[in-house]
Symmetry: C2
Subunit: 338 residues, 2 copies
Amino acid sequence: MGVVLPLEDSHPKGASIEPLVKATAAGMEQVNRVIVERTGSQVTLIPEVARYLINSGGKRLRPMVTLGAALACGYRGSGDVKLAASVEFMHTATLFHDDVVDESDTRRGKRTARLVWGNQESVLVGDFLLGQAFRMMVEVGSLEALDVLSAAAATIAEGEVMQLGTAKNTETTEDEYIEVIRAKTAALFSAAAEVGPIIAGADRSVRAAFRSYGTNIGIAFQLIDDVLDYGGVSATLGKNVGDDFREGKVTLPVVLAYRRGSDEDRAFWRRSLVEGGTSDQALEHAIALLNRTRALADTVDRARHYAAMATDALAPLPNSAAKAGLLEAVGFSIRRAS
Amino acid sequence: MGVVLPLEDSHPKGASIEPLVKATAAGMEQVNRVIVERTGSQVTLIPEVARYLINSGGKRLRPMVTLGAALACGYRGSGDVKLAASVEFMHTATLFHDDVVDESDTRRGKRTARLVWGNQESVLVGDFLLGQAFRMMVEVGSLEALDVLSAAAATIAEGEVMQLGTAKNTETTEDEYIEVIRAKTAALFSAAAEVGPIIAGADRSVRAAFRSYGTNIGIAFQLIDDVLDYGGVSATLGKNVGDDFREGKVTLPVVLAYRRGSDEDRAFWRRSLVEGGTSDQALEHAIALLNRTRALADTVDRARHYAAMATDALAPLPNSAAKAGLLEAVGFSIRRAS
């Protein structure tokens, strides 16, 4: 264990997700098999709907975090696979429910399940996945892991409710927004990371380190997603750009642009996000304001802060391929925006 | 109200506390008078002890924040003076109690009151000041302000208790440490700022903006204090350097240096902070490790993140001398470390 240098050095520009993919490849193959098995049901609609979203090309970063955390703690059992699959199911369940709550029409460039099959179907398949997630956790038999993941499930729901309050509220402060994503996004990353050391029987301080890693990579990840939704730092109109804008979502780039803008700018944001005046022309103007106020670049800067915290959290662990993969994933989460 | 540019531009290197001092000068004169009046008591020991610390050269930043916030919201009454004095009393009370809890021997370069008069006297004079603070708040008659300040009093105590858990625990994570100072230091700054808009009758979003300003300048301020306790970014042994180290306090610079260090480094930190091996030679080695791991420079970077949040929080308010003073105070809180 040598001296670990901070973010700037340890995450060269080429930071990639590949080392984590490689370190967890064996486990992820089993996770993917479990996912297919556990989406099976006599009710044929369920596998059809569930797999529509599950197979739509997510990176499966969360289950990789669980497997990587377990490996980095020297775990050699098989419980990590089911916990990782549970985490992915919990994530997918929230996507189903989110799309209904947000009345979203597209997700990852595809029509949302609620448009293809209906809102009720989406809600119920989400519930089915949550139920399956809990069954798998129970099978693993770790009460501590069950405690952490079920607390996360409640926190995520709280975060979604909090977001109902901030959505379309252009006066949202940065703290309020960070609280929302801490609950809505970071809580699951945090739990995904913490169950690794839990089943490995690691001590309190190692659990705290992974909890911190998960929380902070989760916040960084969400902030970069917010930037990508406007096309990245060098924002331009393009495919999949502007979903948040069209849904009236007040994300951190908007919080900053709104607060830093002129009265006229603020009237524009209210008109667009609150009253729903979101034409392509309006989106173009929004992107111009985001650039002028440096809101996108500074959101990336804010994300870097959380990324640095995630990196420092894991520093004391012994070196391993899994740890290196988890650390590079932090750099990767930021690099996506540039 | 023009476009407000982010931190780098709005806080030139010369950021100073002077604009806030000037904007609040008239009110602070009254605050200082109230402080003298309300430390009076038939029990002559009380004014003697209370004034020993109150007159020991603090900047009185917190009451200036209250006055500045009220002014920035257009307040023209006189309730802000008593609330500002309450805030300073609450702050002084916690210093008395802290010195007893931490068994500190010096504060602001002077012997602590507990050494001059005793521990029991320090605790009780702290309680007296807290009582006087609440009486003044009640006199102002704003239940909302009373609610915010009394909640802060409870949170500060919670933060102190949390700190008992992190003190001498070198495994403390950055998140855990930030939670401690969010409660111990930032909660009072947050309340100090929020009571301004409250008595000015400002709306919810303005209150949220000041709460956010206070919380984040409070965190930034504490992190820079932590750096200054090791002599600043270009750390050197000097007067008033190393108090935290000698008391075994695990502050953010130590959290980072510990996590980034080698096994040998970590053994040194445990030996020094947990077992109390804190000679001048040990302090010199500690400073060398803090520099080698860039822990001090990166703590300043972390502080900048919170400073940027504080600045953005106030951006939408109409321009005024008070607002400008509050914003420059953010830059000042950071500049102290360089």
